[in-house]
């Protein structure tokens, strides 16, 4: 599992972790930055985009897989991220993560981020099998990713952990634990 975070320290290690989980079919859950590193890894190693990176870590990467969201302030740090509960409609009829959410048409989860998957690359990435099954209500911002043909390779741009309850675990986390315990989702 790769949780959220900021800054460049340890980023290559996280990308390696995503690569290892993808190639060896080990259950993977990436939250926020965890979704972004999985996307960067996929661009580099599946789509062959050498030097793909986030503009958070490399101002002018060969391929910008993850980019700064246009509406965010570059001068003020306090309270200027994309924050709080936003709805995410599912764009596919059936996928593991939607099943985990009980088949709901959309989910309401909490956000905290400044960067997003580069909208210009979504088409290429999805064609190669990493599908953004949930996007925000404009249909452009990637929120949930799921990899075809993998036991559980899921990322969420939002932070599902904030709404977990002792008796009602957060669905993406439940999926990870189910997959890690060898259960069918």
């Amino acid at each position: 599992m790769v949780p959220g975070g900021f800054g460049i320290m340890g980023i290559e290690g996280k990308i390696k972790a995503a690569e290892y989980a993808r190639e060896n079919k080990i259950p993977y859950l990436g939250v926020c930055l965890g979704l972004q590193v999985a996307t960067i890894e996929f661009c580099r190693n599946v789509l062959g985009m050498e030097g793909a990176n986030s503009t958070e870590f490399d101002e002018e990467p060969a391929h910008a897989a993850v980019v700064f969201m246009p509406e965010i302030s570059k001068t003020h740090m306090g309270g200027t991220m994309r924050l709080g509960t936003k709805p995410t409609p599912f764009l596919v009829d059936d996928c593991k993560i939607r099943r985990l959410y009980g088949g709901e048409g959309h989910v309401d989860e909490r956000h905290r981020h400044r960067y997003e998957v580069n909208p210009e690359l979504i088409g290429d990435i999805e064609e190669a099998g990493l599908v953004y099954v949930g996007k925000d209500e404009t249909g452009e911002r990637c929120e949930i990713m799921e990899l075809d043909g993998h036991p559980y390779y899921v990322g969420t741009q939002y932070h599902p952990e904030f709404k977990s309850r002792p008796d009602r675990p957060s669905p993406p986390f439940l999926g990870l634990l189910m997959a890690a315990s060898g259960m069918e989702i």
Partner: protein
Amino acid sequence: MFPPKGLDKVSTYLSQGPGNKDPVAVYARHVLAVILTILEIKEGRNRNLCANVDRGWASDSDPVDEMKYVVVTGGVLSGLGKGVTASSIGVLLKSAGLRVTAVKIDPYLNEDAGTMSPFEHGEVFVLDDGGEVDLDLGNYERFLDVCLTRDNNITTGKVYNKVIQKERRGDYLGKTVQVIPHITNEIQDWIERVAHTPSDGNGKEPDACVIELGGTVGDIESAPFVEALRQFQFRVGQENVCFVHVSLIPVMGPVGEQKTKPTQHTVKELRGLGINPHMLVCRSKSPLIDETRNKISAFCHVPPEAVVSAHDVSNIYQVPIMLESQGVTSMLADRFGFEIPAKRKVLDDWKELADHVDTLDDAEEVHIAVAGKYTDLADSYLSVIKALQHASFKVNRKLVIDWIESSALDGDGSWWIRHHGD
């Protein structure tokens, strides 16, 4: 050109309903479903707040006629588990049928926790309204099953900001603006306002509010808050306030004597500031012995039964049960004048959960490797850990988290192979 060519065909498909299995028809229905979902979201965004809260627990009865406040302060040192104590008291009130909300006071000058390093302060918790707050708010949301707002986290920065804005607007009519009464009044107004804000998803005003004062009593930064809380008991009526002080009982020497002096000192300090605690919660390794309890009672001006032992337990869900078994709920009922119902489903469910978690110690393990940056301080990933734990309860496995400092990951992912063989 509008309508585009072929649109009539799509509408024919849609009118035929799910019976038509033609791929174009299936796709058209899917697109329509997504569009409808998006329209629904756009019309009623705010209704989706508190979406995860269980609304089914409470009856419509009104157990109390006035708002009840439990104020939790701490002494000796920080990190005693004030947050867990306060949340657990909230659970007990809820189990007696009260709607409970919570306020966390952080005396630091930051406006909110958003710019604070997780290294230093633990995770930044995010609320439905986008508030970036102290991680204790997460404890409250998880324990009480509520959804809170940014206003439920009061900081010195927020209070001063508000008072200075008022001063600039001229609201104080030429008066000299001072800590007492302007800051202290603002704090009290704030607490009262937030306490009355519905938080359990049913849209009803809470019956009780648990207020946790961060830091330890005697800190310079918390002084205005302690003073505000002292005045607050007279504003809302003493019968509506219960002061709970959390302290530490260290154990010394080869015989393991429980030492009471730090507790005596911190209570003395608190009383010197004008607050007489009604209950003392004593953190210790093992249960308080009667001698310790009586000594604390004698020196701290509380009856022996109000000296509550908060010793180490097998898991945090046992804490409300431990407090219940020492009569905390009935003490609160006596003070606040409410009846404890014979059947308390919230408490029964809680016991079941606590015992279930205990049984997982012997269950099959599930290993989750977490590759992160702040792996030295588990508080940096508190909600992630909690979410993993909650999920492990559901799949009946013993959760083992393998922390990986991501900067230490080898180039070929061999960390995993070294540790797991495959």
